[in-house]
């Protein structure tokens, strides 16, 4: 626990800075930490919040599983085939750097309003980092592993599950950590534009109404969820690296 004390103090300092900012610019612009927390707790008593959380969680679960499966499968394929990987990598890096919000009209036209376009947005954001991490992990894997698999006459499927995936697991976890954050961002952005439900819609609706307490409460909730999940994956990551 000694290790986390400085971080804990820093978080306290950040909350103090938030409070000072609140005092400087007034409650109309930024609610205080305490007000935000009480507002969040009172919102947690309503059915509305949980319905929205459920919608976001559902879209996120679909998007994350698609991004994970698609990213790992394509990453393995592109990693094993060197030429295909070399051809695809700059294209993928470029796709990663595009502000994907720009493409939202296209996504809306293809998938319509609702769940499917939210999921598509999430996958668009989250799949490429997972793919790139997986591909690079396979490329940097020690070649002796694959040669051993060849010597043991493993079928491609066997060598995938018994050699490739275990060997690149730490990098996959690192990729998933990044992909997780981006998928969540993608789903939220999708909800902001293409939905009538979910936390993103709640935030954008509150933006339209100028309802700062609700925005801050949703932001606090999302920050806590995101940071908690990220820290858990970071711990898993560290554990795998030390194997």
């Amino acid at each position: 626990m000694q290790r986390f004390l400085p971080t804990f103090l820093l978080v306290i300092a950040l909350i103090a800075a938030w409070q000072l900012l609140h005092l400087a610019i007034g409650a109309g612009a930024l609610t205080s930490p305490w007000m935000t927390l009480t507002h969040l707790i009172s919102m947690m008593g309503t059915v509305e919040l949980w319905a929205n959380v459920g919608e976001t969680a559902k879209a996120f679960a679909y998007a994350m599983s698609l991004a994970l499966v698609g990213g790992i499968v394509l990453g393995v394929l592109l990693g094993v085939n060197r030429l295909a990987g070399a051809v695809a990598e700059p294209i993928l890096l470029n796709l990663y750097a595009i502000p994907k919000v720009t493409l939202y009209p296209l996504v809306l036209l293809c998938f319509g309003l609702g769940l499917s376009s939210k999921v598509a947005f999430g996958v668009m954001h989250g799949m490429i980092p997972i793919l790139l991490f997986t591909m690079n992990a396979i490329r940097q894997m020690r070649p002796v592993y694959l040669r051993t698999a060849g010597t043991l006459r493993l079928t491609p499927v066997q060598s995938l599950f018994h050699v490739l995936l275990p060997a690149i697991l730490p990098e996959i976890v690192a990729g998933v950590r990044l992909g997780f954050a981006l998928t969540l961002l993608g789903v939220l952005i999708g909800e902001m534009f293409a939905s009538q439900r979910g936390l993103g819609y709640m935030a954008v609706n509150a933006m339209g109404l100028g309802d700062i307490p609700t925005i801050m409460a949703v932001a606090l909730l999302l920050t806590v969820i995101a940071v908690t999940c990220n820290s858990l994956m970071l711990m898993l990551d560290k554990k795998l690296q030390h194997r």
């Binding site: 595009i98 969540l184 925005i215 920050t223 995101a226 940071v227």
Partner: protein, 249 residues
């Protein structure tokens, strides 16, 4: 030109050709997507008539300003944090979780603070980009060989001189990775904020065209974003490769 670039160009060309063909044969209805050639022609006519010059200048001005602010302040914050190991140990878990937080949620707060316009857009883009630069600076400084630091001490360089003459050049290849990310994030931050709430800019213009069913304007502007991101990326990658080559020597 090596085989990979030839194949890559062929692949991209084939993809664009396929879309063009699908649009021309109306497999994809013109309501959904207009042919890429038409997008390009419309983009050229928009640029020549100057219909959107204001918006384009607004967005690119914001991107340039926020990328510069993020890169320069990120570098100096990175330097400062690096010289305080205890503070750094406390900060590092927060930096690792930073990109998990959907920063756009805080955009309304910035609007109240800075008003609608340049200020709030630049603020959100800087917020998005700066941490990538800080992280890259920390990594870069970690990788500086100890002997360089010692030579600086031997030559009795001041803190500022060491930063400018030793640390900056030695960490440059790593810093450039941060620069690339910071530019990409500034781009994303600016365009996305304009989408959410703004009265001008490319993002706003695309959203406006979409809401008014002006699909030719919309696709032309989307193409503009795609082309500019690709060109900027290509330029940055070119410099990156030269820096990496210098490190190899």
């Amino acid at each position: 030109m090596n085989i990979e670039s030839v194949l890559r160009s062929l692949l991209v060309a084939a993809f664009i050709g396929l879309i063009e063909w699908l649009c021309r044969t109306h497999v994809i209805p013109p309501m959904v997507l207009i042919p890429p050639s038409q997008m390009l022609m419309h983009l050229l006519s928009l640029v020549s008539t100057g219909q959107y010059s204001q918006d384009i200048l607004f967005s690119f001005g914001n991107i340039v300003v926020s990328a510069f602010v993020a890169i320069i302040s990120g570098f100096f914050i990175g330097l400062a944090v690096h010289s305080m190991p205890r503070f750094r140990a406390a900060l590092e878990p927060l930096l690792a979780s930073y990109y998990a937080v959907p920063t756009f949620i805080f955009y309304p707060v910035f609007i109240v603070v800075f008003g609608v316009g340049h200020g709030s857009i630049i603020a959100i883009a800087v917020l998005l980009a700066i941490v990538a630069m800080i992280t890259a600076t920390l990594t870069g400084l970690d990788r500086i060989p100890n002997v360089l630091r010692k030579s600086a001490a031997v030559m009795r360089m001041s803190r500022l001189q060491t930063a400018w003459r030793i640390q900056l050049p030695a960490a440059l290849p790593y810093l450039f990775g941060g620069v690339k990310l910071a530019v990409a994030y500034s781009f994303i931050g600016v365009i996305a904020s304009e989408f959410i709430l703004s009265g001008s800019g490319i993002g706003y213009a695309i959203a406006f065209a979409y809401n008014n069913f002006e699909s030719d304007n919309m696709y032309a502007l989307m193409l503009l974003v795609l082309i500019s991101v690709t060109l900027i990326n290509a330029a940055l990658n070119f410099f990156d490769r030269r820096l990496q080559a210098r490190r190899q020597r």
